[in-house]
Amino acid sequence: MFSRFLRHPQTLAALSLLLLVALWQLAATLLHSNTLPTPIKVATVLWQAIASGELPYHLGATLLRLISSFTIAMVLGCGIGVLLGRHKTLDAFFDNWLVIFLNVPALVTIILCYVWFGLIEWAAILAVVINKLPNVIVTIREGTRTLNQDLLEMAQSYRFSRRKTFVHVIWPQLHPFVMAATRSGLALIWKIILVVELLGRSNGMGYQLHLFFQLFDVASLLAYTVAFVAVIQLIEVLILKPLDKKAQRWRR
């Protein structure tokens, strides 16, 4: 009976999470050090940070940057990716640029943006976009290259308008690639955003984490991390999963 109980994926996930917290508690009790606070201590700090409005403010600032830079990178990346995927000459010409931008370290772009444009908000966003954009372009370009020629011919012979062809023939084929770019994009962007904030902003998660580092406040650091991971999980469960499900409903 217990094994049947275990087979439920949700129970399994809850159990594994519980085990992680228990291990954490055990280690904290054994070490008895300020550098590893107990889960209960972290939960208390988390609650206080939420109640004081400090965490929502900084988390909000980071999320706002995440949304704006993500949107810009995705829209531009999809457009350029489709263009490069459809035109061989353009692709051959700009391929080197892509390789170069893919390999410039994130830290370099961030520093350069701040040096050239100053420690301002849109320089921060620009730095994130420049880091993310090449990834989106490459993924969408691959997707465009695999577009089904038969279906495009069908659309042409039935005189589909450009818009109709894009919405009904091209976009559904690109969807898995867009989802892949979205997932890898979110993971990449939020890591870069923290660095951007740490280096040149006076609010946001990165700024706060830097502050806690200087104060050696590990409890707050962990509390902010928990909040951040929870938000990213929520985005996955509430937005990405349903989008996936809707787009996959026709598959056998």
Binding site: E153, Q156, Y158, S161, H168, P172, W250
Partner: protein
Amino acid sequence: MSSIDIHIANKTFNADGRQHCAIADLQIKIEPNQFVCLVGPSGCGKTTLLNIIAGLDSQFQGQIALTEQARQPQIGYVFQNPRLLPWHTVRENIELVFEHTPPAQLIDSLLAEMQLADVQDVYPQRLSLGMQRRVSIIRAFAINPDILLMDEPFVSLDAPTARQIRNSLQNLWLQRPHTVLFVTHDLREAIALADRLVFLSASPMQVVGDIAVTIDRQQRNDAEQIEQFRQHLLQHFPAINSLL
């Protein structure tokens, strides 16, 4: 209703860096509302010819004149593979080819004629190949095309299914006649459907025979009649043998 004047002086492919001539000096004139079967060995360039007529391939020398007053003729194309959009249901696939509001009644009656009314809200990948083929035939018929191009639409179907779809196709065509170009390498099928058979040679493709089918439309279901006509053809035009 549209006539088709085909004149292709030259159509070449680039295969492994070498120029391969697929069609050379091909001339066919097709009358309005004629049902023409193009019969020839596989690989002789029949699909290429249909693609040129449909405007999908413009890399050739010559010209295709589609006569239709004051507007571009509507073309319905039934491809060799059904080419349905897998993310749309059967009905959505049919409705999508209309520029404006799709005619619900017409689509209903076509779905009923092809015995697909029950599956109109199903996604194509859940259907058998035969059913998908029927959907693609409805899609081509629904727009009431001036010209209907069909590229071996019944290939790889079992005989009863093929016969059933063929009958439906004939019924639909009799109700709403239009110019049809039907590619096949099955001579019996061609005789059962066509007003006129055009035999094509292996590449470079040329017309090697152009024969009217004289069997009355009412008797096209009679296998014996078809067989008689086929024997008659093979006796009188022995050149056909090498094409089949």
